[in-house]
Symmetry: C2
Subunit: 429 residues, 2 copies
């Protein structure tokens, strides 16, 4: 991608209406635009980050053989009356009347719909377990939307649902998704902490949230710090269940007496094993050895559109964003400082074509702008690897490789850049 063809409307000043770092930097780097209270457009740079996150989620759900579907945003009130949540959900549910005065709503979640789907199509115990997921817009009419996409009203969510023949199998499935979640967040390059949580509105007895620790987080979690250093994927199901890490509410509700440290954090995922709550209210039964089997269910959510904001809260400096390369909108930026030099133009362009041909995600800043603007824009948008091409090339045949995170610079001849970058990116993959 060439910068001149790519739409990145960066701002020179901090936006006045944003109070937390991620909201400020997402507006300033031209990632998002507010359309109305709590409702945002994703501009090209922001949407690239979202797509990288979505690809990681899709690839790993496919690896785990979870079937991808797409349920609609608009739902009928009927299924919510069946579960009893139409009355209890409250004002966060956006209720709508269509032209025939039929009651519709913008789905805040999909337990009801997936249960109706299961009841229609799953007729034999032999076809259990079944796992589904979809990535779809949700709407929750927050009374005070704030912090940009962190607490928006319309947001993008991945939610998965499982059907099992009994509780025992349901628990196994639950921990299968638990491990999938550890893998997903690791693949995004962010350290995640699972914490035991209350089930709340959705129901059931077993629930965990997945948090990113940041000082500016809205949540509070309590945990044994050793968890942060351990490789959780290696633990047995039972040990995952007994981890000493809890949400604030769980910690207080269950009067946990062990001494734990308190952290502020952002919730990025939430999984629930709610059992037969919905299958029962939908009268969803399957014949099994001459008895009635009511499928045992769970649901597994990831708040996709708040992840870019959470990562920025976790990783930025005074000059801008520091993307992990796994979700960075581009892996490499080529900064050509002298636009009217045939030599820098040729070397920049050749490097750009070479990196592209190696499937490296590169943006070439070919704009006719001052070096100061190019440097500050590159730092602001946070691409992890910068290749700076300017006077050094003309004088000594050198280009500069600069790492955004620590500012480390290496001068080297341009024929060596390609190998080093390929090696660096491959090592981390």
């Amino acid at each position: 991608m060439k910068f001149s063809n790519f739409f990145i409307p960066t701002l020179k000043e901090n936006p006045s209406d944003a109070r937390i770092v991620s909201h400020i930097l997402m507006l300033k780097s031209g990632m998002i635009r507010q359309e109305t209270s709590g409702i945002y457009s994703w501009l090209p740079l922001g949407y690239r980050v979202l797509k990288k996150i979505i690809k990681i989620i899709e690839d790993l759900h496919e690896l785990y053989e979870v079937n991808q579907i797409l349920m609609p945003t608009i739902q009928s009130s009927e299924i919510w009356k069946k579960s009893g949540r139409y009355d209890t959900y409250g004002k966060e549910m956006l209720r709508i009347n269509d032209r025939h005065s039929k009651e519709l709503l913008y789905g805040p979640t999909n337990e009801e719909m997936i249960t109706a789907l299961g009841k229609q199509h799953i007729k034999s115990y032999k076809s259990l377990p079944q796992y589904f997921y979809h990535i779809q817009s949700k709407f929750r009419d927050e009374i005070r939307p704030r912090f940009g996409v962190m607490r928006a009203r319309e947001f993008l969510m991945k939610d998965a649902y499982s059907f099992d023949i009994n509780e025992n199998e349901g628990v196994k499935t639950y921990y299968r998704f638990f491990r999938l979640y550890l893998k997903i967040f690791k693949s995004m390059g962010i350290p995640i902490v699972p914490v035991r949580a209350l089930s709340g509105e959705i129901g059931g007895s077993l629930s965990h949230e997945f948090h990113l620790i940041v000082d500016s987080g809205e949540s509070e979690i309590f945990l044994d710090k050793s968890i942060l250093e351990s490789d959780l994927e290696k633990l047995k199901d039972e040990d995952l269940k007994n981890l000493n890490s809890f949400t604030d509410e769980y910690y207080k509700n269950n009067k946990i007496s062990i001494k734990l440290e308190k952290f502020r954090s952002i919730e990025l995922g939430h999984i629930f094993l709610f059992g037969d709550k919905y299958s029962k209210s939908f009268d969803f039964n399957i014949e099994y050895e001459n008895k009635k089997l009511t499928p045992f269910m769970g649901s597994y959510g990831i708040g996709i559109s708040r992840i870019p904001a959470a990562i920025i809260e976790h990783s930025s400096d005074e000059r801008g964003i520091l993307w992990p390369e796994e979700v960075s909108p581009f892996e490499v930026v080529i900064i050509n400082l002298i636009n009217d030099s045939d030599e820098t133009n040729k070397v920049s362009n050749d490097l750009y074509q070479n990196l592209k041909s190696k499937n490296i995600d590169v943006i070439y800043d070919d704009r006719n702008e001052r070096p100061g603007i190019k440097f500050s824009d590159s730092d602001l948008i946070g691409i992890p690897i910068q290749i700076i091409i300017g006077k050094n090339l003309i004088n000594d045949g050198n280009v500069t490789l600069k790492f955004r995170k620590d500012g480390k610079e290496i001068n080297l001849t341009n024929d060596k850049v390609l190998d080093i970058i390929i090696k660096k990116l491959k090592n981390n993959k």
Copy 2:
């Protein structure tokens, strides 16, 4: 993908509530599920087709350097009051009040929102032209939703928007998108016919629709049949403008006097050059040579979720769907007829792994089902190439390659199957 892990809830009987072939076959093959009137879920098989269509659209928009963004589904009424369409749009617009009684709506289209976005962020004539697109759910509250996803209320649409410095440049951009559309539908393996259309609600003077000719289509178009045989991509802009092909309404409104043939068809795309209608009402002006420049705009839509239905209307037989390989949910299906034979299991599995390793999109029917069910399911879901592995293998070491479209069968030793399939799929790519 193994059939046993993939959720394809095929029906034995024709669904009683569906009247057109595509609706019947999409329900029967387990591609979609109706949630409520005019609102559908896409099940795994259907969603795979949607994703292939989306990938073709994304890849070609990237090739044409159109910036991908994501605008929200819910919009504020304010921007629609600015353009004047809040009152004129009528009952197809789904109007919503939020918890604070603020007027929202579910976007039926995005001209207003993109104009507001352009006005905020495009400050210099130097950054024109600008092209944007997004793929997002839309809602139009049809009075009588029917024909499944063909005339649904919630549907998936690609819409692109362009900003140019003047009409002359706008027209060039318009024909750039015209050519992009020819390429997109060609890449989906379907013959498309562009027809001159009225602009209607959106405004402006230049508009074309892109139609697929099928006897069951809801639209009528008039055209000179020679257009069907010509390579339109090679024509000049002026010749594209003067094609003798028109929508019914355009033909009658403009009292076209030349004799043309009438066809029934389905509209899949619609492009508009509406000029300054929205930029004017949003007071969106840019300084240019000491004068005010009001950007000249166009919009370019594709009805993504009706494309699978249109293709089925165009291409099916009494046994089921006939997918073009470009958008088929899988390119190849391996049908193992004898589940308790080590020999057929091994050969099936090896072939499956080999095809996957060559990046061929293959589904392996490994279910413990009768051959009759496997054959009829494969024919129903319409995968273009079938590899049948049964008694022939045990007796003669042969497998059967069968083409869904013409039923042609070739018996050959299994070591030759791979080469032939790779050659056949590559030829068409």
